[in-house]
């Protein structure tokens, strides 16, 4: 566990350094609109420039950035003229809600369909599932969002539709592989019911890998949140990132990317730990 926390911290520190470098090198960095104010004297402008002098050195800039970050100050958004921390605090819960609902829907539908296909071994169900997943995998999240807008469907369900094909395909392959293992075949031959075979013999084998998939789907859902929130007009961090990208607000974008990276890394680490403890308990 301490190793995992250290890994996350190091990743965030390196990510923060790369992010600060991007902000430092972004076009327009160091330019202040206030300098255009005709009422300011030459000496006032010089004084303003002096306050930003230290930011010229990348490492000084980075440590200053990190210091502010540790105090919860993520800087100001250039386009929205508001503190980034305030914007994130307002919008992150909205995105987290959508992601949680999307994952719950996607996992329920994808996993249950995979279980139904593997256990029933019905070819028509497999064909239907494969066709549906095949079409969904060919649709970009942005097109799905547009279709949701056109159909006036509740946008929150969209993330479920984005993660569903990935969960279904992976779970079906994994469960099919596990159900072909010799000990599962023996259990079937001995006359065990479908539920017992699934719960006692198939799921324990496939469990750790399915838990690893859980972490991956968190990242997929966050990525799909950008087009969903941008096109369905939902006030989450995906929409904020899109607006920041259009307005070239690199400081805001870098902070958002770091926050999402932290969330996905934490989710991946939790699923890893759960997978490992699952293996240990099985052994």
């Amino acid at each position: 566990m301490p190793k995992l926390v250290a890994k996350i911290l190091i990743t965030v520190l390196i990510g923060g350094f790369l992010g600060a470098t991007l902000v430092r090198l972004a076009p327009g960095f160091g330019a202040d609109e206030e300098e255009l104010d005709a009422r300011l004297s030459h000496r006032s402008i010089e004084a303003m420039r002096d306050t930003r002098k230290n930011e010229g050195n990348l490492f000084v800039f980075y440590f200053g950035y990190l210091n502010r970050l540790l105090h919860g100050d993520l800087g100001n958004s250039r386009t929205l003229q508001r503190p980034v921390s305030q914007l994130v605090a307002e919008r992150l819960p909205e995105t987290l809600k959508s992601v949680a609902l999307g994952l719950a829907l996607g996992w329920s539908a994808g996993f249950l369909l995979a279980v139904a296909i593997v256990m029933s071994r019905a070819w028509y169900l497999d064909l239907l599932g494969s066709l549906l997943v095949g079409v969904l995998l060919c649709l970009p999240a942005a097109v799905l969002a547009l279709l949701f807008v056109l159909a006036q469907a509740p946008a929150r369900f969209l993330l479920g539709l984005v993660v569903f094909p990935k969960i279904f395909r992976y779970s079906r392959n994994l469960l099919a592989r596990s159900s072909a293992l010799p000990h599962v075949l023996t259990a079937r031959a001995k006359g065990l019911g479908n539920v017992r075979v699934l719960v006692w013999h198939i799921l324990p084998t496939a469990g750790p890998q399915l838990l690893a998939l859980l972490g991956v789907t968190v990242s997929v859902a966050f990525t799909a949140a950008i087009p969903m929130e941008a096109l369905c007009d939902m006030p989450g961090i995906g929409q904020l990132a899109w607006k920041a990208a259009l307005g070239r607000d690199v400081a805001l974008l870098v902070n958002l990317t770091m926050i999402v990276t932290l969330v996905t890394l934490t989710a991946n680490s939790i699923s890893d730990v759960m997978g490992k403890s699952f293996r240990v308990s099985e052994a």
């Binding site: 990743t11 970009p140 942005a142 097109v143 807008v149 056109l150 992976y170 994994l174 990208a245 690199v250």
Partner: protein, 268 residues
């Protein structure tokens, strides 16, 4: 599934040929505006009608498909080569080099893909010519999409580096470069081939996402992103079903790319 694979390849070849011959097939240049006929229905002159700016939709579909079908494989080639270089060196060297390179790869993989893309896109000029914007978009996809493939190639290269034939080659006096070039790279070809074909539809989908969000290829050059963005103005009531043709073509092309790989070549 052999028939499905053959059908997919034939379909992709047909679409590619049609796009490459767009200069001869298209009824009008992609940016030409028929100002008297905006949002026109299909006719002999405009087989798929015109868009809201009066541009021939069929021509735009042909040129847009050409852009995506030419540049997505180019981006996939770039990312596969980067993955081969990074993953191959890491796997072949092993030890500390492998650990450090893979830690870097993990860091790259933990960054959310679309967030990373739009951050990098925001750093690059948005007000560039359409040709430059299309090159920037696909070059960015190629440069940022190597990490997943590098991990797989590293694992394969590690397994190969420990195999008997490499040991024999080493014992015969082959140096590092010879081992890499003559023995490792040829054996990594199937994995690289699979990674290339997996990357192409991923890049097509990502470009479409970026294009719909207004962060992809600049107007008036068409790409699938800008063509699919037209769906914003689609209305089921108006019954303009021909507006869905780019979407149907998009689904068919992407699913054909998915079908090109055999089951054995696909990851789980």
């Amino acid at each position: 599934m052999k028939w499905a694979r053959i059908t997919a390849i034939v379909f992709l070849l047909t679409v590619s040929a049609a796009c490459l011959l767009a200069d001869f097939i298209a009824p009008a240049p992609y940016a030409h505006q028929f100002r008297e006929e905006p949002d026109a229905s299909p006719s002999r002159q405009h087989p798929l009608g015109t868009d809201d700016l009066g541009r021939d939709r069929f021509s735009r579909v042909l040129y847009g498909t050409r852009v995506s079908l030419l540049l997505a494989p180019a981006a996939a080639l770039l990312s596969s080569l980067m993955a081969a270089f990074i993953g191959g060196i890491a796997g072949f060297s092993g030890g500390r080099v492998e650990r450090w390179v893979m830690a870097g790869t993990d860091l790259f993989l933990s960054l959310p893909w679309l967030f990373l893309l739009i951050t990098v896109r925001a750093l690059l000029p948005l007000n560039v010519s359409p040709i430059v914007s299309v090159l920037i978009t696909f070059a960015m996809l190629g440069c940022l999409g190597w990490a997943g493939a590098a991990r797989i190639i590293c694992a394969d290269a590690r397994a190969l580096a420990q195999s008997d034939f490499i040991l024999l080659a080493r014992a015969s006096g082959s140096n590092g470069f010879q081992l890499l070039w003559r023995h490792l790279v040829p054996n990594l070809k199937p994995v690289l081939y699979a990674q290339f074909w997996i990357s192409v539809p991923v890049f097509i989908l990502t470009e479409a996402n970026l294009g719909i969000l207004g962060l992809g290829v600049a107007e008036p050059l068409p790409s699938w992103g800008s063509l699919l963005r037209e769906l914003e103005g689609f209305s089921a009531i108006s019954g303009q079903a021909w507006q869905l043709v780019p979407l149907i073509l998009f689904i068919l092309v992407v699913s054909s790319f998915h079908l090109v790989l055999t089951k054995e070549e696909l990851p789980v």
